[in-house]
């Protein structure tokens, strides 16, 4: 049914993104994909080897995931937030299609729900995926109590702040992302297309997983200025003071719209909203204005919010879907190892989505060098 087609479609997108040129075979099934296919930026030169094998045999392989259930516990945002929770969920949906696993999700309303929601999945789920730094303690506690249960947690690196030492648990995969690296690229691209010389950003709330985007974005613009002796300004974030523009919520699209308008009033013509669905409000404002660009966050906006594809410059991809897919795949293939995973440009954990045509070929070429620079550690992407 519809849901399956959609899942397949999403899978194809991801496959296309991960494998770059390998997406050819399935083209007919995905008409929307065509739009994004052309200006593809290859962020991952060397896709992780272990994912390649199951990927290629998508249709023929026996469903090795029968009887396996992966479950997501969302943060207080909904599963359909067009960004954070949804991207993670897509990883499960993809695995469902590929491996025939079962899936489930549950939304949290408040802090006290985390324990309950995680515990509620203990009996039924083989893998529990907790999304968001707020679930740190709950996940740790549950994982300690249930050594046989497998977990993954997004945006958390377990750390004992009292003893000041890192914690690693054998049954938990800690998925973290250097989104600053991808946002750096977005900042570079933004600086290259701005006509006003001003680009803007804002966040939902001042969480580390939010401000890291803004840091990278800022440094990317600065790098552009240094390289091209330009003077593009970033408004809405000050990495030194770690203060900037925030809506104070992740719900109000109307606030997102107002943010967009304000930033445009002050001259910004490229905006990076790091605020989940609130960013869609900004996209609406940008679309109405007509002469500005929006940069998507977490997922590729041209796919999650196709209505705004025409004003989407690019998207800062936090490939939670891919890494969660990998975790499931590893579990199914007995390759699972607990501990920290850091998604970077190098391993494809973060990346930049397709660029809009407005980005010049020169800049695209420069990006390849920058990516190499970042991977090599020559370019600083955050304070």
């Amino acid at each position: 049914m519809n849901k399956k087609i959609f899942s397949l479609l999403t899978l194809l997108m991801v496959a296309a993104l991960l494998l770059g040129a390998c997406g050819d075979g399935e083209e007919t099934e995905a008409p929307e994909a065509a739009a994004t296919e052309a200006p593809e930026v290859v962020v991952t030169e060397a896709p992780p080897a272990e994912t390649e094998a199951p990927e290629v045999v998508v249709t023929e392989a026996p469903m090795i995931g029968e009887g396996f259930t992966a479950c997501e516990v969302t943060d207080t945002g909904g599963i359909d937030d067009a960004s954070f929770n949804e991207t993670a969920w897509n990883g499960i949906v993809n695995a469902e299609a590929d491996f025939g696993i079962s899936s489930a999700f549950v939304e949290s309303q408040q802090q006290t729900d985390y324990d309950v929601n995680i515990a509620g999945f203990l009996d039924t789920c083989d893998l529990i995926i907790a999304v968001g730094f707020l679930m740190d303690a709950a996940t740790q506690a549950s994982a300690n109590a249930n050594p046989d249960q497998m977990y993954a947690i997004v945006d958390v690196d377990f750390f004992d702040f009292v003893a000041f030492e890192d914690i690693t648990l054998d049954n938990v995969k800690e998925l973290t992302y250097r989104t600053d690296q991808a946002a750096f690229l977005a900042g570079y691209v933004a600086a290259s297309v701005t006509e006003t010389g001003i680009v803007g950003t804002f966040g939902g709330m001042s969480f580390g997983s939010v401000t890291i985007f803004m840091d990278g974005f800022y440094y990317g613009v600065e790098y552009y200025n240094a390289q091209n002796s330009a003077d593009v300004q970033v408004i809405g974030w000050d990495p030194a003071a770690q203060e900037g523009l925030f809506t104070g919520n992740f719900e109000s699209t109307d606030d997102g719209r107002a943010m967009g308008v304000t930033l445009m009033d002050e001259g910004a013509d490229v905006i990076l909203p790091v605020a989940g669905p609130v960013g869609l409000g900004t996209a609406a404002a940008v679309q109405e204005a007509g002469n500005a660009w929006i940069i998507g966050v977490d997922a590729d906006f041209t796919l999650t919010a196709p209505d705004f594809a025409d004003v989407t410059l690019t998207s800062v991809m936090k490939n939670m879907d891919a890494s969660i897919y990998d975790v499931i795949s590893d579990l199914l293939n007995d390759l699972f190892v607990g501990g920290l995973y850091i998604g970077t440009l190098e391993n494809g954990g973060v990346g930049l989505a397709g660029l809009n045509d407005v980005v010049s070929a020169d800049v695209q070429a420069e990006l390849v060098d920058i990516i190499a620079g970042i991977i090599a550690g020559d370019i600083q992407t955050r304070p």
């Binding site: 489930a104 939304e107 408040q110 509620g120 707020l134 300690n144 009292v162 001042s206």
Partner: protein
């Protein structure tokens, strides 16, 4: 009039019960709950795809049957989620294995855990109602209570648990009391309506908390807004060693407070004063009671109870504070107080119902039923309508009209004077 009570001023429980039953005071909440469930089930049925598919592909009868089954399945899940699986419990007790028994009764204990904050906020709102005040700000008071309690939990060191826990609870209560005092004072001194002021203070509390978590209360070495963990000496005692058995002493504290509030309201002169102000402020003034003082006291106490709800959550469950520590309890408190007729016993029972719904709802929203937990909000709204407009229930179920009006009427309008 009931003849039997003429010479019996001290009514016993059975008499009260039958009187209430006849007047509908007991019957109406029960019928309201039943009606709420029926309507909730209806919503589950009419929003299920399967039913429509059956309508299209099969017959009307089949569709109805599937719709009915969906609703039944949902409530089954809710029930098992809230109370545990009866057969498992039975088997566990027969087997006599402690671990198995623990596992079997865990859902029920979790229901009690979920009910605990509801008891506190329900009492909070009920105390306000009794004084003629509509405290719509339990939410903000709860948040501030959790902030101050968590602060007491990590910042005050070197105390034994026996002192640290009560102290942290007290500081949590004081935080809530402060957040209740402000609208109480404004109402008493300026007539500013507490409904508006408490709503405003909810927003202020949320923003203030976020700022506190970002700067002064930020856990060391962390960047995300989260407070340090409280010390072990401030954690509320849990009855089971197992980490997942969250049942803690907070539930009994809540029950004790329920009794305390009852004693305070109905057995002390202070309670008499508050209730008189709530029932008839003019008569209270005439009788030498200072309504302004009573309003301030009542709002502060109401805030303190809500603050304890927050303290209970951080000291008993979360052990630290992050944004979104607790949401929606303010309106739940109103619903619980209304459903419990602002009687402490009624409030405790209503809170248990809400805890049941909440905990059951957590199962409901998981597969295989996957019904959004928001269903319980809809059911609560229905239940409340029926409680608040008993005439509807009376019409449906053909009950007789009551003879006496109930004590405790809200101040109407916004003027405040």
């Amino acid at each position: 009039m009931n003849e039997t009570k003429e010479k019996a001023p001290q009514k016993n429980a059975a008499q009260i019960f039958f009187e209430e039953m006849r007047g509908g005071s007991v019957a109406i909440p029960i019928l309201a709950i039943i009606s709420g469930f029926i309507l909730g089930g209806l919503i589950v049925a009419i929003t299920s795809d399967e039913m429509y598919i059956a309508f299209q592909e099969g017959s009307t009868v089949l569709g109805l049957k599937i719709g009915f089954n969906e609703a039944v399945e949902a409530f089954k899940a809710l029930f098992i989620g809230a109370f545990g699986n009866p057969s498992e419990i039975w088997a566990a007790f027969r087997g006599g294995d402690d671990i198995a028994i623990q596992a079997a009764i865990k859902p029920f204990l979790e229901t009690l855990v979920q009910s605990t904050p509801f008891i506190f906020v329900g009492l909070s709102v009920a105390l306000g109602f009794r004084t003629g005040l509509f405290n719509i700000g339990a939410e903000g008071q709860l948040v501030i209570g959790s902030v101050t309690a968590v602060w007491a939990g990590y910042a005050i060191t070197g105390l034994p648990a026996l002192i640290h826990i009560p102290l942290a609870l007290l500081i949590g209560a004081l935080g809530g009391a402060l957040w209740g005092f402000i609208p109480g004072w404004l109402k008493a001194k300026t007539g500013g309506h507490e409904v508006i002021n408490t709503i405003m203070l909810n927003f202020v509390a949320a923003n203030l908390t976020f700022w506190l978590l970002k700067y002064p209360m930020l856990a060391p070495n962390r960047t995300d807004p989260i407070s340090p963990d409280i010390l072990d000496s401030a954690k509320l005692f849990r009855f089971f060693a197992d980490e997942e058995m969250r049942f803690h002493i907070g539930f009994f504290i809540a029950l004790a407070l329920g009794a305390l509030v009852y004693w305070f309201l109905f057995k002390t002169k202070w309670g008499f004063e508050l209730r008189t102000v709530g029932s008839n402020p003019d008569a209270a003034r005439y009788a030498g009671i200072n309504p302004a003082r009573s309003i301030i006291i009542a709002m502060s106490l109401s805030g303190a109870l809500a603050g304890l709800a927050g303290a209970n959550e951080v000291l008993g469950l979360n052990h630290n504070l992050a944004p979104a520590a607790a949401t929606g309890y303010g309106f739940d408190g109103i619903a619980i107080a209304l459903l419990g007729k602002s009687q402490p016993l009624g409030v405790v029972l209503s809170a248990l119902l809400f805890g049941t719904l909440r905990n059951g709802g957590n199962t409901l929203k998981r597969p295989p039923t996957s019904v959004p937990i928001d269903l319980i909000l809809i059911m609560q709204a229905f239940i409340l309508v029926f409680v608040a407009a008993p005439a509807i229930v009376r019409t449906i179920y053909r009950l007789r009209e009551p003879e006496e009006v109930e004590e405790g009427v809200f101040v109407r309008g916004w003027g405040g004077s």
